[in-house]
């Protein structure tokens, strides 16, 4: 009795063990895809363990594609554009994919497996938004009411953003504010400087964040930012570029120009910068320097109300008048605007009158 019992148990255990060993071997050989590279948005490469679903793999890399069902292929949310060839659609994807999406090779990331090197495209926001602990490295006056703040990233130690994007600055609780608030500021540093974020902050009278920056924040303080965000970045075309900015709208434009200079992007660029008097002008020398680096770049600062002491020999008048005078036509052009809503609306008016389609006018409004 006991013996037959033991034999039965042993036989079944043997069978199960044999199959299990077989599976383990298969997993280590056939199922082992080794390390696979995923290239995201042509920029970031991550090396991952192959063999799992794309959704799960990205999750493991702390990159969260929206998914409601947890990867069972029943919600259809986790769509990702796959640029490299990964074979045909599988039947479980098809119910969720429209004809247009098929042309774009949009795939359901939970149903495709990472077996070889992949290139995918996802919205930049998904990919990059993180919270960063930073230390205020330097604060310097650009004008009487604009400060340049350099933040050194502590954790994570590096940020990736496109020139022109903005971050959110967390103002901690302080005397004038009982809760922490977020305010958005464009990065004025070039993306290649991964370990710092430089902001240009203009004092807003009674503004919670700007007052904090101007009167409370000291070099060496720790502040928290998150980002990057925004669609205000240079489009990859050959068209001529018109930048129009005022005040701290300089920040993203400066970032884009520095980025262009670094990458050697040679396009015709005119940068109209509006200010009231020379007191409001800043970084002029840096711009002149950039003119030397970028052969087809010209910086056109314009003062709307120059005083006698200014002894101003450059352009005068409202920025719209200056554009009106300078811009012959809008052929083969794109415009990037950054500044107050009033300035942007007026500038958009001038540009469209010149025949530039609104689709080619990109702007960041400071509300």
């Amino acid at each position: 009795m006991l013996i037959s019992f033991l034999i039965a148990v042993a036989a079944m255990c043997g069978l199960a063990t044999f199959l299990a060993v077989l599976m383990v071997i298969a997993d280590l050989t056939v199922g082992n895809y080794g390390e696979v590279k995923i290239t995201i948005n042509n920029e970031t490469e991550m090396t991952v363990e192959g063999g799992k679903s794309l959704l799960g793999t990205l999750m493991g890399e702390k990159l969260f594609i929206p998914s409601a069902c947890g990867g069972r292929g029943s919600c259809g949310f986790c769509k990702v554009k796959v640029v490299s060839d990964i074979g045909d659609y599988v039947a479980t994807e098809l119910p969720w994919i429209t004809e247009e999406e098929k042309k774009e090779n949009i795939r359901l990331s939970c149903q495709i497996k990472v077996k070889k090197d992949l290139a995918i495209q996802i919205p930049e926001e998904l990919f990059n938004v993180k919270e960063y602990r930073t230390r205020v490295e330097r604060v310097r006056d650009l004008t009487y009411d604009i400060k340049e703040v350099t933040l050194k990233l502590l954790d994570p130690g590096e940020i990736k953003f496109r020139a022109g994007q903005y971050i959110q600055f967390q103002t901690p609780e302080y005397e004038l504010s009982s809760e922490s608030v977020y305010r958005a500021y464009s990065c004025s540093s070039q993306p290649s400087r991964r370990d710092i974020v430089e902001l240009e902050i203009r004092l807003v009278p009674n503004g919670i964040c700007t007052t904090y920056v101007f009167e409370y924040m000291k070099e060496g303080d720790e502040v928290t930012i998150n980002g990057p965000y925004g669609e205000f970045y240079l489009r990859d075309t050959d068209s001529g570029i018109v930048f129009i900015a005022g005040g701290s709208g300089m920040a993203p434009v400066k970032s884009i120009l520095l980025d262009m200079a670094e990458k050697g992007i040679d396009r015709k660029v005119t940068y109209f910068f509006g200010a009231r008097t020379t007191r409001d002008l800043f970084l002029v020398e840096e711009m002149r320097e950039l003119e030397k680096q970028l052969p087809r770049f010209s910086f056109v600062p314009a003062l709307s109300a120059p005083t006698k002491e200014d002894n101003w020999k450059g352009e005068t008048g409202l920025i719209t008048e200056v554009i009106e005078r300078h811009l012959k036509n809008a052929d083969n052009l794109e415009a990037y605007l950054c500044g107050s809503p009033g300035m942007i609306d007026a500038s958009v008016g001038v540009l469209t009158k010149k025949g530039l389609p609104e689709a080619l006018i990109y702007y960041d409004k400071f509300a």
Binding site: I7, L19, L22, G87, T92
Partner: protein
């Protein structure tokens, strides 16, 4: 009757007179779920043919060389189930590794088959009817082909149904499919008496 001839008879009987789906009603869930399009049912059908043939052979060997030898045939359910599950898993891994085309066509159906009762049923009938190795192989292959035939036929009918027929609302989906399956089973009874297997 020679063994070869007998196996040949078993093969045809498994396809027509003793169709595992239409006479034993096994493998119903995937039959109902995946018979909407001919293309997918062909894929599933092929996967079933392959898995059923292979698992019948493996289970035959396991049964006679392990279970019978150690006198533990009462454990055949568990043994067959884990063998089928492991085999399907292995095949899936291999297909996934080797061929994208094959994976897209068959691979995704394999997890469905792991829990397909027709596969287990085929192995059990095979040992209950005490087939020889050759007949077991023929029975496994025949059952698979029979199952595939039934699901492809059903998919064809359902495709036509979608275009032409006004199915009463309460009968749409699984309801009408079961009724059609019943009629198909009756039709297949026409083959009965041609060959019989016990």
């Amino acid at each position: 009757m020679t063994e070869g001839l007998f196996a040949f008879g078993v093969f045809f009987a498994a396809i027509f007179t003793n169709n595992i789906l239409l006479t034993n009603y096994l493998g119903m869930c995937s039959f109902l779920a995946v018979s909407r399009e001919i293309k997918t049912s062909v894929g599933l059908g092929m996967a079933v043919i392959f898995v059923m043939t292979c698992t019948s052979v493996i289970n035959w060997l396991i049964y006679y060389f392990v279970l019978v030898r150690f006198d533990i045939v009462y454990l055949r359910y568990i043994a067959f189930i884990i063998v089928i599950a492991a085999f399907v898993q292995l095949v899936e891994m291999v297909i996934e590794r080797t061929s994208d085309v094959l994976y897209a066509a068959l691979g995704i159906f394999l997890p469905l088959i792991t829990v397909n009762c027709a596969i287990l049923g085929a192995s059990l009938f095979m040992v209950i009817r005490e087939y020889t190795f050759l007949s077991g192989l023929a029975y496994g292959a025949g059952s698979g082909i029979g199952w595939a035939l039934a699901i492809i036929a059903m998919a064809g009918i359902r495709t036509k149904l979608n275009i032409r027929s006004k199915v009463p609302f309460g009968l749409t989906g699984a309801g009408i499919t079961l009724i059609i399956a019943g009629i198909m089973a009756l039709a297949f009874m026409g083959f009965a008496g041609m060959i019989t297997i016990t």
